[in-house]
């Protein structure tokens, strides 16, 4: 998995996840978001357009990340989930915990 960041003019940080988010690499995403939080960023979009699979550990990492961001007064939105991954969020009811948009642009527009 590789992580790439882009920053919008309005300060929203978009983290693009390229590859699977699974038990072996979930800490990388948590650490990256934690770094950005410590640097003062508060609004995030996590873009999964390039992500074919997220396992239960990856889902758990996202829950923990979102909790930390919200505790700091921030917000995080998810985008670009494929149909299978979208179904995982629905089955686990995590779609009630996250704002999920079809594309990063739609997620950005919702801020």
């Amino acid at each position: 998995m590789a992580l790439r960041e882009t920053r919008q003019d309005n300060g929203v940080v978009v983290v693009h996840v390229e590859g699977q988010l699974v038990i072996t690499n979930r800490a990388e995403l948590k650490d990256r978001l934690q770094e950005r939080l410590a640097a003062g960023d508060r609004r995030f979009v996590i873009d999964f357009t390039g992500t074919p699979y997220i396992d239960s550990s990856g889902l758990g990492a996202l829950v923990t990340i979102a909790k930390r961001i919200r505790e700091e007064g921030g917000d995080v939105r998810l985008a670009g989930l494929n149909d299978d991954l979208r179904q995982l969020f629905e089955l686990t009811k995590l779609d009630t915990l996250f704002s999920i948009s079809a594309t990063p642009d739609q997620a950005l527009a919702a801020f």
Partner: protein
């Protein structure tokens, strides 16, 4: 019925490759739909993670044994670790409101969602999953 057996070391670094290899063999020669591939991927990766992390506690001296029986209408997957086992009845519902914000506890739930039947042996260290083929 064709049978595939694989031994997986107790390292989480082995999960991705093991899932890829076993899934490829299970679906070789079949006209598998993408949905079937995804169901296998979820079931195998979650069962292997549970076996390696919770069952064998990442003990390098232990192995996880995967056996796949491939039939025309179904795939039977057995994943067995060398741990003490657990009682699956004690695993709480991952979708209960108080559990939604917890980091863990969704693996077994997702397995139940993705396969048609789930059984454990009496010791609780071996899971048998049945996927009916479309």
């Amino acid at each position: 019925m064709e049978r595939i057996t694989v031994q997986v070391p107790s390292s989480i670094d082995c999960i991705e490759e093991a899932v890829s290899v076993i899934t490829r063999h299970c679906l070789a020669g079949a006209t598998a739909e993408p949905r079937e591939h995804f169901r296998l991927q979820v079931a195998l990766s979650e069962a292997l993670a549970n076996a390696i992390v919770r069952g064998n506690r990442e003990d390098a001296s232990k192995r996880v044994y995967v056996q796949a029986d491939l039939g025309p209408d179904r795939i039977l997957l057995n994943v067995t670790d060398e741990g003490d086992g657990f009682d699956p009845a004690t695993v709480p519902d991952a979708t209960r409101p108080e559990g939604l914000e917890q980091d863990g506890g969704r693996g077994l739930f997702l397995i139940h969602c993705m396969v048609d039947d789930v059984h454990f042996n009496a010791q609780g260290n071996s899971i048998c999953m049945t996927l009916r083929r479309p």
